[in-house]
């Protein structure tokens, strides 16, 4: 049976070098010009970045549109973008630009932010490292997940979706690779709506999904 290697990661934000955006049109220009790393950061790193606690929306563009531009329409549309369903950052970029273009064509004036509330394009550096901890059998997963840092949850659930197999978290991919009858648990893990949970909440949901006390026997299948 292959072992599950528990990784961890730490993220640090850095300036992208692009000038800040003061209104929706400038935001569009920045999104059109920014690197994929900037786009990824504002859509996907949000849950790991400090200084973000805005449960109503899960990406920085929607949060800024709501809080600083006061444009709830574009905030709602941007807020519903699920970055993980797109196969590339370019596709995600295009969807984002389409939404902003549509809003710019509807609005009577370009929504703008007060000085001090401008949007800063950021990116992140991420250090991924091995914790040295291993899970050798699925029945160890609940206790292992319970002790994982937010960095580990982020890496194995969210960041994992960028790696092969694309769009899939590491836990369910590992269970699938083991063979045996783990389908019920794979399904439970994949049904977690990661967009609307904090990393702490995802950890709790995962523990619940893989809580095998009543479901698994020790040999690799449902009891």
């Amino acid at each position: 049976m292959s072992v599950f290697e528990i990784k961890d990661c730490a993220l640090l934000r850095r300036m992208s070098g692009l000038p800040p955006a003061f209104n929706l049109r400038e935001l569009r220009e920045r999104i059109a010009a920014c690197s994929p790393d900037v786009l990824y950061h504002h859509y996907c790193d949000t849950q790991l970045a400090p200084m973000t606690d805005y449960p109503d929306y899960r990406n920085d563009f929607a949060i800024w549109a709501r809080r600083r531009l006061g444009d709830q329409v574009v905030a709602e549309r941007l807020g519903m973008i699920d970055p993980y369903v797109y196969t590339s950052m370019e596709e995600l970029r295009q969807v984002t630009l389409d939404i902003i273009d549509e809003r710019l064509s509807e609005a009577f004036m370009v929504p703008w932010a007060r000085p001090g509330h401008e949007f800063y394009c950021m990116q992140a550096v991420t250090i991924v490292f091995d914790t040295g901890k291993r899970v050798t059998h699925p029945d160890e997963l609940p206790s292992a997940i319970r002790l994982m840092t937010n960095g580990s949850i982020y890496f194995h659930v969210l960041e994992a979706r960028r790696r092969d197999p694309v769009g899939v978290d590491d836990f369910s991919a590992w269970l699938q690779g083991l063979g045996g009858d783990w389908d019920q648990y794979i399904k439970a893990i994949r049904e977690i709506d990661v967009t609307f949970h904090t990393l702490a909440e995802i950890r709790n949901e995962l523990v619940e999904a893989v809580n095998m006390g009543s479901g698994f026997d020790a040999k690799g299948g449902n009891a």
């Binding site: 730490a10 850095r14 300036m15 400090p50 606690d53 550096v125 250090i127 914790t131 840092t149």
Partner: protein, 412 residues
């Protein structure tokens, strides 16, 4: 302070400590030198007092050097500090020469340590010229700006920039504070120490003593703003908000701060505050000594709601402290306050005394909301603004600087 990292395990959880130890392992044995201009007093010295020993605890060869200077040097660096924060100041060529010469004298005393270091962190502008003097440097040099330099006086920033742009990277507390520079600029928010006197848990007896000392009524709600008496903290606006609430609810207000006595503007504002408070026995204006950390801690814990109604703010660590005490914060929508206060979750952002009064009344009529926000607030700080996160950010930066080679993602 000489605590081991494990002392924080009860507060942040063992996995967080293990994460720091794993990151520390990557950096074990590397020489890191911090340089600043004072060993006591001020936020930077406070940070280095815990950070350097904790880096040592992780196996990093960390040290802290303090530059020495003449009164003339410190008068010049005070002007530089003020200029960076936007005050219109000017320095003569002679002043800049003095600034450089004092750094040159310090460099000769710490030359060997700086040349041998793998990473040198230069804190704030006072020691910024040291890099230019270190022609034989081995490691990477990072400039750490602790102050808001979003709108610096050009006469100060232009010459200082010529020193700063030589660095390999720089660190700012918020993206709004950053300047355009020809190297990577990182954002590291400040933090609080949950075990310090200002933030540690206090027993009920101590809280009762403080309540009695200041004549606070245990049966009526307490609003509190802790900050120095500064116009940008809008203490008079807080009194106006309190007076609006007082018409309908029997509240008490504490405005507590220090450091006004040697500041002519501070004394003037304190006078304005006392005048606005009038003879209302429920407005307590307290001028506290700078080391009254436990008193501040107790007052924050006694409060029902913490206020920080600033009209201009840096990061706003008093907000962080209030949130850590499990209190909702009503704060001005400026600086770092909106990064910490989210409407309906950890408190409310306001722009006027009327707005503050409205939120105070709402919360005081909804005690369950106060309780719920307090829980969210404390967890938010636990996750984001304790010194363990601050330390992790530095370790991440060091790893990137030493092993990143320009990549944004590094697999170790």
């Amino acid at each position: 302070m000489n605590r081991s990292l494990e002392a924080y395990a009860d507060t942040v959880g063992t996995p967080v400590i293990q994460q720091l130890r794993a990151l520390g392992e990557i950096l074990r044995g590397h020489k890191v030198v911090h340089v600043n201009s004072t060993s006591q007093g001020g936020g930077v010295a406070e940070i280095l007092t815990w950070m350097v020993p904790l880096m040592g605890d992780l196996g990093i060869d960390a040290s802290w050097k303090v530059i020495r200077g003449t009164p003339a040097f410190f008068a010049i660096t005070k002007s530089i500090h003020n200029g960076l924060q936007g005050k219109s100041v000017s320095l003569t060529k002679k002043d800049w020469d003095t600034y450089y010469e004092v750094n040159a004298q310090n460099f000769s005393e710490m030359k060997e340590v700086l040349e041998e270091a793998d990473i040198v962190i230069i804190h704030d502008p006072q020691p910024a010229p040291l890099l230019g003097l270190c022609s034989n440097k081995k490691g990477r040099w990072i400039w750490r700006a602790h102050i808001d330099i979003s709108r610096p006086a050009r006469a100060i920033w232009k010459p200082l920039r010529s020193y700063v742009e030589q660095y390999d990277a720089s660190i700012f507390s918020m993206s709004q504070f950053a300047q355009v520079l020809p190297h990577p600029q990182f954002i590291i928010a400040p933090s609080i120490d949950p075990l310090s006197e200002k933030n540690m848990d206090l027993d009920q007896r101590e809280l009762d003593q403080v309540r009695e000392e200041f004549g606070l009524d245990p049966d009526r709600p307490l609003l509190i703003q802790i900050s120095r008496f500064d116009r940008f903290k809008d203490p008079v606006g807080v009194i106006q908000a309190y007076q609006l609430v007082r018409k309908v609810l029997p509240v008490q207000l504490v405005l507590a701060g220090g450091g006004a006595t040697d500041d002519p503007e501070g004394a003037e504002i304190l006078e304005d505050v006392r005048e606005a408070a009038g003879d209302d026995p429920d407005v307590h204006v307290l001028l506290l000594p700078s080391d009254a950390h436990r008193t501040v801690n107790a007052l924050q814990r006694l409060a029902d709601i913490v206020i920080q109604k600033s009209t201009r703010e840096g990061f706003g660590l008093t907000v962080t402290e209030g949130l850590w005490k499990g209190k909702p914060v009503i704060g001005g929508d400026v600086g770092g306050i909106p990064l910490q206060v989210t409407n309906h979750h950890t408190g409310y952002l306001v722009n006027t005394p009327e707005g503050a009064a409205h939120r105070m009344r709402y919360l005081l009529h909804h005690r369950e909301t106060i309780r719920r926000m307090g829980i969210t607030a404390r967890e938010f700080v636990r996750e984001n603004f304790l010194l363990t996160r601050h330390l992790r950010d530095y370790l991440t930066l060091f790893t990137w600087v030493l092993k990143g080679e320009g990549r944004n993602t590094i697999m170790i």
